[in-house]
Symmetry: C2
Subunit: 242 residues, 2 copies
């Protein structure tokens, strides 16, 4: 097994074989921050499950090149982990929500615009960069997909596979704790639906329940949107052995 612990990991979405040209961003990182030299060995991931050991053959702050020496397929997490969330109002809370759920481990993030959403536009390119950086930082080989912003109606009318949960703070809706439910499930795909600060509307909760979303509790405290997202993703990742 390739031991990448403590070593920098680069992102190269192309096929990892032969000579690979690094992107401008990764070339800059390699040439300037890391001060790589020709012949240095680095690690790459394609974000699709492959990690490669490679040798720097050309150092250039805009177009560095590497020669792939060896590749390895990394096992996917045994469950598909999907976070569906109404993005927090402030940009920094959205940024760190993305960073943290990617670090901990998620496969798909769907940003939705529900009735009481406080934000209907995001800079997807920026969020994607944060996701790439968090993937590299935490030494993962899979880059999660970020989708959005989808309108509630558009989201709720499409079928969602696997186990589906909706985080609820409404004490009139009976709910079990998320971790207890996921621990007992043998399903291979988990989806959690997290509302905005103002929560989902009654109508939205009703629609979600009709579509088979199971109400779950994330504990007694009232959590902010980004904290609820993180909490849920820790539960998903703790419910099965990686």
């Amino acid at each position: 097994m390739l031991d990448i612990f403590g070593k920098p990991l680069f992102y190269a979405p192309e096929a990892l074989s032969g000579q690979v040209l690094l992107s401008e961003e990764e070339s800059r990182h390699c040439a300037l921050s890391l001060r790589g030299k020709e012949g240095d060995v680095i690690f790459l991931t394609d974000g699709k499950g492959t990690i490669a050991r490679a040798q720097l053959t050309k150092i250039h702050p805009k177009s560095s090149m590497v020669l792939v020496l060896e590749t390895e397929a990394v096992d996917k997490f045994p469950i598909f982990r999907r976070l569906v969330v109404s993005p927090p109002k402030t940009g920094d809370r959205l940024d760190w929500m993305i960073e943290k759920v990617v670090e901990i481990g998620v496969d798909e993030i769907v940003l939705i615009q529900s009735r009481y959403s406080e934000r209907d536009k995001v800079n997807l390119e920026r969020l994607q960069k944060i996701a790439v950086s968090a993937m590299k930082q935490s030494k993962q080989a899979f880059l999660p997909q970020i989708i959005g912003v989808q309108k509630w109606k558009q989201f709720i009318e499409k079928p969602v596979d696997g186990d589906k949960f909706i985080a609820t703070i409404d004490s009139s809706v009976p709910s079990r704790r998320l971790l207890d439910v996921t621990k007992q499930s043998s399903g291979s795909s988990f989806t959690i639906l997290i509302g905005p600060e103002g929560d989902f509307s009654e109508e939205e909760v009703k629609q979600a329940l009709e579509k088979g979303f199971v109400p779950v509790s994330l504990g007694k405290n009232i959590l902010r949107t980004e904290t609820a997202s993180l909490y849920s993703i820790v539960c998903f990742n703790s419910s099965r052995e990686a």
Copy 2:
């Protein structure tokens, strides 16, 4: 039970009975942000387990007053949750670590300076304010204590009660998953020890193991200090019914 859901909660560390003078900060919040009026009903917590329903008797941006109408004792979480962590280098990562672990639920945060720590000073007053704000935001009645920065030697030589864990990323140290261990424990106090980005030194790990800290895993991904803290606190809170 007092229903404070969706209602602003104020912090007043004094005894909650009769007339209570709000602090400058809480008075400003009450008078200016909330635009409170005489006769309005608000909620207070002393951060020690009591919540009060109270009526505004004087509105002033520096010295508002309330009359306590009713108080209620809130149950403590069934486990004492202690986070011992080497603070992250950048202030914003430290700030949000405090915000998030308080929101999710923690009883004591001990900041320590270990061999590879990147920060040996913090602004405790600022962190305390963040903790108060997160407690109010998440509608809790207990304010966690923040202690630090303690030197490693000083920390490790004092006895720590209850179940003690050290998060490890060293694959040569056999470790079980934190959640599996806490789920099986009937202990009433959990402590997790989280190292800096550069991890604990070998010597520090050795000392912790000698003192009875059990090595635990937080999953396969390499987590930043603040993410590991958060992950652990979610596990502590998920391992028992609140």
